[in-house]
């Protein structure tokens, strides 16, 4: 009897193994009852890589648009930094922008999976232009998550009626990764808040119709981050809102990045998202939905790098044969292919998880971290395969290398992603009995 209470070494090991497997499968295997999206065949086994007919049509549309509308004009916008208004307007007309706005605000209510699919195709054309589109999603997400009916109707509704842009204003000159350290303040005065502060690196900053702004509403320095900040919707044309000059960046130059100054801006209380004090949670919650599309953008760039490099390697000859027939180059292409496929699968998984209604922080961070690194490596290798030509601006790959770098920085730096991933998995590990 007693021997059953104390496991033998063998029993203990078997038990430990089962638990370990359980943890692994729990972390990576999807719930058996789910499928990719409505109507997608799953072979009865609960997991599928099939797209529905409708998804395929969305993908075809985005692909066609990228090749016919974005690629021809991308070099011009990269050289001049001119904001791509005509392309954005066309994308808006075709429904390629603002896809996740709920149907009752005039939107298409697309899931994150479909959004990622479209994003990847557009990013293939130009990540600068695609980031301008993506910043709309980022700005709208806090409103979609935490806005009340009036706020959604007012601020999301107008995005579907006209081709407007919006922006997400959290980062400051002195605080990027350290969101809890932001200094923009909002002080309650009657039924208004007086907003003062400076935001930096705000995508679409100069063209936004309204901003989501995170500001500190608590004076108590010991107040935890989860209660000290409030999210506001701030109209561009209120007094005191001053966008700065367009910043000239290394890459994604078509995208408009600026500093924004808020000086004694009067924000009505009805523009508070959620409630006073919950801003931090809303700002972070938006990322779970927007990190997969950013990973998708990086995947699109990596795919473009791969395609350009492959095409070139089948045209350029050296030492008597096409460079693709030299193993050194062929192996580089193979490694790029490995990275592209992996990026895509991770992005799809993270998007699918949140579409099932589950918390996807772990997968979203993995996808974004990996895809950012993959995009940079693929772009660098593409330049390498092009050789001297790759370094030259007449060829398309140097732009890819410049555009790729930001994927390791914005939407959570590569280091922050690793912090999140390690925190998530260690928390899970602590719950496991080894």
């Amino acid at each position: 009897m007693a021997s059953r209470l104390i496991p033998s070494a063998g029993q203990y090991l078997r038990l430990a193994n089962r638990l370990r497997q359980h943890v692994r499968t729990k972390a990576t295997a999807p719930s058996p009852a789910a499928t990719t999206s409505e109507g997608a065949p799953s072979g009865g086994r609960g997991y599928s890589f099939e797209l529905t007919d409708e998804q395929r049509e969305f993908q075809d549309l985005a692909r066609k648009f990228a090749r016919e509308e974005i690629i021809p004009v991308a070099p011009h916008h990269d050289k001049t930094g001119e904001y791509p208004v005509p392309v954005l307007k066309k994308a808006w007309e075709l429904g390629l922008m603002n896809g996740h706005i709920p149907a009752d605000c005039g939107g298409m209510d697309l899931g994150i999976f479909d959004t990622c699919m479209i994003t990847e195709e557009l990013a293939y054309g130009c990540t600068g232009i695609q980031t301008a589109i993506e910043a709309n999603s980022l700005g709208q997400m806090p409103v979609i998550i935490a806005g009340n009916a009036e706020q959604k109707k007012k601020y999301l509704g107008r995005m579907t009626e006209e081709p407007l842009m919006c922006a997400y204003g959290v980062t400051e000159p002195g605080a990027g990764s350290d969101v809890a350290g932001i200094k923009t303040k909002a002080v309650k005065k009657g039924d208004e808040y007086i907003l003062n502060g400076q935001k930096m690196w705000i995508t679409n900053g100069g063209h936004a119709n309204w901003y989501f702004v995170l500001a500190r509403t608590s004076d108590d320095p010991k107040m935890p981050a989860g209660k000290a900040f409030t999210g506001f919707i701030v109209d561009r044309d209120w007094e005191g809102v001053t966008p700065g000059r367009k910043e000239w960046n290394m890459g994604q130059r078509a995208s408009d990045t600026r500093g924004i100054t808020f000086e004694d801006v009067r924000v009505p209380a009805e523009n508070v998202l959620g409630a006073e004090g919950v801003g931090f949670k809303i700002a972070m919650g938006a990322f779970d939905k927007t990190r997969p599309p950013v990973a998708a953008g990086a995947t699109g760039l990596a795919q473009r790098a791969l395609d350009e490099a492959t095409k070139y390697s089948l045209e350029r000859k050296t030492m008597g044969k096409y460079i693709a027939e030299h193993q050194a180059v062929a192996f580089m292409l193979a490694e790029m292919a490995i990275m592209v496929e992996t990026s895509r699968l991770l992005t799809q998984r993270s998007a699918w998880e949140i579409d099932q209604g589950r918390r996807n922080t772990y997968f979203a961070s993995i996808a974004k971290a990996y895809a950012g690194d993959a995009a940079n490596k693929c772009a660098t290798d593409a330049v390498q395969i092009f050789g001297g030509n790759g370094f030259n601006s007449d060829y398309p790959v140097e732009k890819l290398m410049r555009d790729a770098k930001i994927y390791q920085i914005y939407e959570g730096t590569a280091q922050i992603q690793r912090l999140i991933i390690s925190r998530e998995m260690l928390a899970k590990a602590k719950q496991t009995q080894w």
């Binding site: 007919d53 409708e54 049509e57 969305f58 549309l61 066609k64 648009f65 007309e93 075709l94 429904g95 390629l96 896809g99 298409m108």
Partner: protein, 257 residues
């Protein structure tokens, strides 16, 4: 051997160079009420124009398995023209029709996303790719005993008929066709629009009626047999000559002159 659709009186047809469309009018007596026109547009699922065609090893045809297929670009142009007629309030309803295998429904869906109101799929099993035969529109007109205006590069309504500018070898020809008529589309007729995402979603709800050829009492036994398909001969390398005399001499030697 082409199936005839029983829609009553047809008015005119808009089609690609290989498929056809039909505009239907409610009453011949109301010739002046063009807004009652219905347009039937034929759309065909073919190998995507960007794909490199490969002949099958047994020379029985071209490889279609696993190859990307899409709507014939000329069918897109025909669809676009029909949508423009509807936007100008000259047409009331657009119906997309496709005769082909089950996958032809994807093509009909694309037509629905572009603006067709409903679709008809006639299931025809077996191989079906664009043979570039340039016969369908003409055959349809002959079977229906209707006037035809093929290779249209411009279609305008004038009172009770259509004025069509046709692209011919020598230039442009303008013809006047009374309705009903068959029109086939040429490249310069228009530039097809993108289907918007909301329209793709709406297309899911539009109806596609399914039929078999037998439903119309049509016998599909082929009267033509494809004996073989071959690649065109590989282009031979040319020769450089130093002077006109040498050129003439070489041409004479080869028996060309």
């Amino acid at each position: 051997m082409w199936p005839i659709f029983d829609y009553g009186r047809f008015v005119s047809i808009i089609s690609s160079s290989d498929v056809y469309g039909v505009v239907w009018m409610r009453s011949l007596a109301q010739l002046h009420k063009m807004a009652n026109l219905r347009v039937l547009v034929g759309v065909k699922r073919v190998i995507d124009y960007a794909v490199k065609i490969r002949v099958k090893p047994d020379n029985s045809g071209v490889v279609t398995d696993g190859v990307k297929h899409s709507m014939n670009p000329f069918c897109e142009i025909a669809m676009e023209e029909a949508v423009r007629l509807k936007e100008k309030k000259l047409a009331k309803e657009i119906i997309a029709v496709s005769c082909g295998p089950a996958q032809a429904q994807e093509t009909i869906r694309t037509a629905l996303a572009m603006g067709a109101d409903r679709g008809i799929h006639v299931e025809v099993t077996g191989k079906s790719i664009d043979g570039d035969n340039n016969q369908t529109g003409q055959m349809t007109a002959a079977l229906l005993d209707w006037p035809q205006a093929t290779f249209a590069s411009e279609v305008t309504k004038e009172n009770d008929h259509l004025k069509v500018v046709r692209e011919i070898d020598g230039g442009l020809e303008t013809v006047k066709v009374t309705l009903p008529a068959v029109i086939t589309a040429d490249l310069r007729l228009n530039e097809p629009r993108y289907a918007t995402l909301p329209n793709i979603m709406k297309a899911k709800k539009k109806k596609i009626a399914k039929h078999k050829a037998a439903d119309f009492g049509v016998d599909l036994t082929p009267t033509l047999e494809v004996v073989g398909v071959e690649d065109p001969p590989v282009r031979q390398a040319g020769q450089k000559v130093e002077s006109t005399e040498e050129l003439v001499a070489k041409l004479k030697d080869s028996g060309v002159v």
